[in-house]
Subunit: 530 residues, 2 copies
């Protein structure tokens, strides 16, 4: 601070003692200067212009508009609606299907929130419920929910107060316990930061780790948060391609090639991002593939950033279980397990909770030096603290009701339903995508998306070019216009040039109807551009 | 995206079809490379090193440690506690008084959350309360709280879903209405962004508006979020000094001097930050001073950033009312009111709600061009959405219970108490600070802090130099060690070189005891360094 100001202090001191009123009119004299906007596309931070984020771009805005339009229109009952004012006339669908974003509790998707979560949080929001109205509350709330709320209240106090910038210590301790039980290796609460969702954790750690010109390996396809953040930082995205032919597995040769290409260009490869289970691919990494990656990070001195937000969304845990990178790292020889830097991210937005709006998550740092951890703390402190409601969500995620407790049965029932729904829908959708002409789709092993490939007719590609769009973007926009289905074009995630994809969530309750609408559109599209 | 990847696609395509298993051991061969940490102070983003944030630095960490130490120690009852294991032996106080941060609901400060807020939010968190358990709920909740929750539920749906990246439209509409009623000028919901507290809004808008080398005028003293964000952006902080001699008012000459100094150095002055009511000064700007500033922004084409998070914390609204910059701007001649760019920030963390942990706030953009607003939207969309709990907080802030409703009386009673407490404590503390030898303190007109000046004895300055600290930092640390009172040194906020201050919140319930402890320490300090 003092250093920053040094140049100014001397000159300013002289005018310091003059009171303000004396100068009241000094700038009131019009000198005919005209105001030139300080902010325009040429003057704002130029890095902002390079940021792209397809998940909520043109498509989402259009879907939003359609949704507003349908809301403004009275429920269709077969009668003529031509006297109703709509934005662009009547729409050829009754409902927008938001398959563009992993938002399970969204209207229309209606994944039911976990009852135990909501009970505990509502009690914490209004402690009078268990303090003044104990008797009445006990008629509504199960005992263990009240007990949990009481013990959290004792620990936290009001949920309206700032917490420690790393998040509430007790919750971080329970996150550490959760990690220990998951992996079989110790975790340090002081290396765990609670965050406003995994996005906030990813963005803040990337912003600390990377600067202009630093190379960061990212999978293609990837979740666009990564390219967006790298663009803002002017860091170099170093894409490595996942192998669509092999169920979107990691192709080790591709990793090596990316590194050698970067070296050739003089780019320092500083970090490697892996999303496991994959978004948008749904692929779940094998232990062997993970060991290979860690070995590579060891040999090349690369910090590994593991986005593991879908770790609970696993469709066939017996044959394709989730392994955390922390666990695999710690199971490796000591010279590796004690040296390779790892940051891993988790979230309450996915999994069985799907509490996206609460903004909760955490990251764990492993083998990061104390001096760097101090900087991580400092940067976290500038944002004061993560939302307390999200922090409590993390607590509930890592400490669900125990078997035998009053709330356990309902919790088990609710979470099983969520697991089954997602798996069934995902399998069913993949099956049907593969039946469509010119579409192929790897079945997902986890997460909540499918990433079908569309063999784009040349005429469609030409037409898209005319419209100044990628062909899959045109496809996605046309799909929305015709059916109300909102799915994001593969180009928003990255794909091998010349291939075209669509990311579709497996969250829509009326899967069959969804497939039917999609099928009709796709066949019409093929016919149109045959 | 496609452009970013262009350089890599050709080389990668060739290895694309090889399955992963074939290469399993390719990197397992030890080539005796040793891991060099990718992240250290020389390799991380160097801008991070320039960031300083005193409010949660060494002092706060030490206070934290003392608090843990006191928690671990059984309650003192006059008996010998020498057999209790503590970190550094016994402490000379029984309680840490956190006067370092405006966190009203913190343990020990215990500002009671507004009942109506908590009732509505608890209902929204667990809609079963008004859906399945209507009859029981009506015994606990007032009718208007249930009605409000129901209508919000209808609008929002589950609080666990992502919302629009700008925030829920209905809430933005009510924010616009609140602004209109406050100012008498229209507001556009599409120019309003809900945020995770004002900090998130400040940080995101500064990050869009400014880039390396751009000048941003900041008041001295200031809230360190500004210097921290500017340091990360490598933007140039251009300090202008507030006039301590004149109740911390703005000194227009100082503004002019700052601008001409910047111009001399070839720095483009792009934005001007004003905190009103002031943090840490507590000063509330006059209409005339605001008009002067706006005129200056007009003449110099500077975007005005108005931090108005303390707008509700006004001690004497009749004689020194709060005026928003939006209102004053809109009351000025058309060529000014329709051109000067303004971004203003508000928060639920302060005011009468004090809901810091919920992370809610908003910013309003005025006269910002559409092309720039698109960029603001894009950057907001990367973070998905602000915490829904914070968004609901904003709704409750802008639409409190109406006069005559069931909840109004209690709400009025609770908010009046908060207003009165803050004002009384602030006046009392200022009075006592001014009685202390070598201390002078402008009484605050609003916000929740005092910023007393301490005439530092030369010997203390010398001693601090020996310890490698600013003298007021040493003072603050010694104060904490001796009394448990945690207050931040003025150097964290900026001050005229050679002057020393302390920022103290006016939130501590036991004001007199606080003053007593402070007084004793201060006299001992003066004696020690006489």
């Amino acid at each position: 601070m003092t250093a920053l100001l040094r140049g100014f202090t001397k000159t300013v001191n002289s005018s310091f003692k003059r009171p303000i009123r004396r100068n009241l009119h000094s700038t009131m004299v019009s000198n005919n200067k005209q105001y030139q906007p300080a902010l325009n596309l040429k003057t704002i931070n130029q890095s902002v212009l390079d940021v792209h984020y397809a998940v909520r771009g043109e498509l989402a805005l259009k879907a939003d508009k359609y949704q507003q339009q349908l809301l403004a229109k009275p429920q269709s009952n077969g009668s003529n609606t031509s006297n109703v004012e709509t934005l662009d006339g009547d729409l050829p669908f009754e409902q927008v299907v938001t398959a563009n974003i992993g938002n399970p509790q969204q209207k229309g998707l209606n994944q039911v929130p976990l009852t135990f979560w909501r009970q505990v949080i509502s009690l914490l929001e209004y402690p009078d419920l268990f303090q003044k109205h104990q008797e009445i509350a006990s008629k509504i709330y199960p005992k263990d929910a009240i007990e949990r709320a009481k013990s959290l209240y004792e620990e936290i106090g009001s949920v309206g107060a700032y917490t420690h910038s790393k998040g509430i210590l007790g919750i971080r301790k329970r996150v550490a316990k959760f990690i220990e039980e998951r992996d079989g290796y110790p975790a340090d609460p002081e290396s765990i930061y609670l965050t406003a969702g995994a996005s906030a954790g990813v963005s803040s750690t990337l912003s600390i780790a990377l600067q202009q010109g630093d190379g960061c390996m990212i999978p293609i396809p990837q979740y666009p948060l990564y390219t967006a953040t790298l663009a803002y930082l002017k860091a170099e995205p170093l894409p490595y391609y996942l192998s669509e032919e092999n169920d979107w597995s990691m192709d080790h040769d591709s990793l090596l090639k990316t590194i050698s290409d970067a070296k050739e260009k003089g780019i320092k490869v500083k970090s490697l991002v892996i999303i496991n289970p994959g978004n948008p691919t749904g692929a779940c990494l094998s232990k062997e593939a993970m060991e290979q990656v860690i070995n590579l990070c060891y040999e090349e001195s690369i910090v590994l950033m593991a986005d593991e937000v879908y770790q609970t969304n696993i469709y066939d845990p017996e044959h394709r279980p989730f392994h955390s990178f922390k666990k695999i790292l710690k199971s490796m020889p000591e010279h590796i397990s004690n040296s390779v830097e790892l940051i891993s991210y988790h979230s309450i937005s996915k999994g069985v909770s799907g509490e996206c709006g609460r903004r909760g998550g955490y990251f764990e740092c492993v083998n990061i030096s104390d001096e760097v951890m101090e900087q991580v703390y400092k940067m976290a402190s500038v944002t004061l603290c993560p939302p307390v409601s999200g922090q409590i969500g993390v607590d509930l995620m890592v400490s669900p009701p125990k078997e035998g407790s009053e709330s356990y049965r309902l919790w088990k029932q609710e979470t099983s339903l969520i697991h089954n729904n997602l798996k069934e829908r995902s399998y069913l959708m993949a099956e049907h995508f593969n039946k469509l002409p010119g579409v192929s789709c790897n079945p997902a092993e986890g997460a909540m998306y499918l990433f079908p490939k569309i063999d784009m007719p040349q005429k469609a590609i030409d037409e898209a070019k005319k419209r100044g769009k990628e062909a899959d973007v045109m496809y996605a926009l046309d799909l929305l216009d015709a059916t109300g289905i909102c799915a994001v074009a593969g180009s928003g995630f990255g794909q091998v040039p010349g291939t075209y994809h669509l990311r579709v969530t497996a969250l829509c309750p009326e899967t069959k109807e969804f497939i039917g609408r999609f099928e009709k559109f796709h066949k019409d599209f093929l016919a149109k551009y045959a």
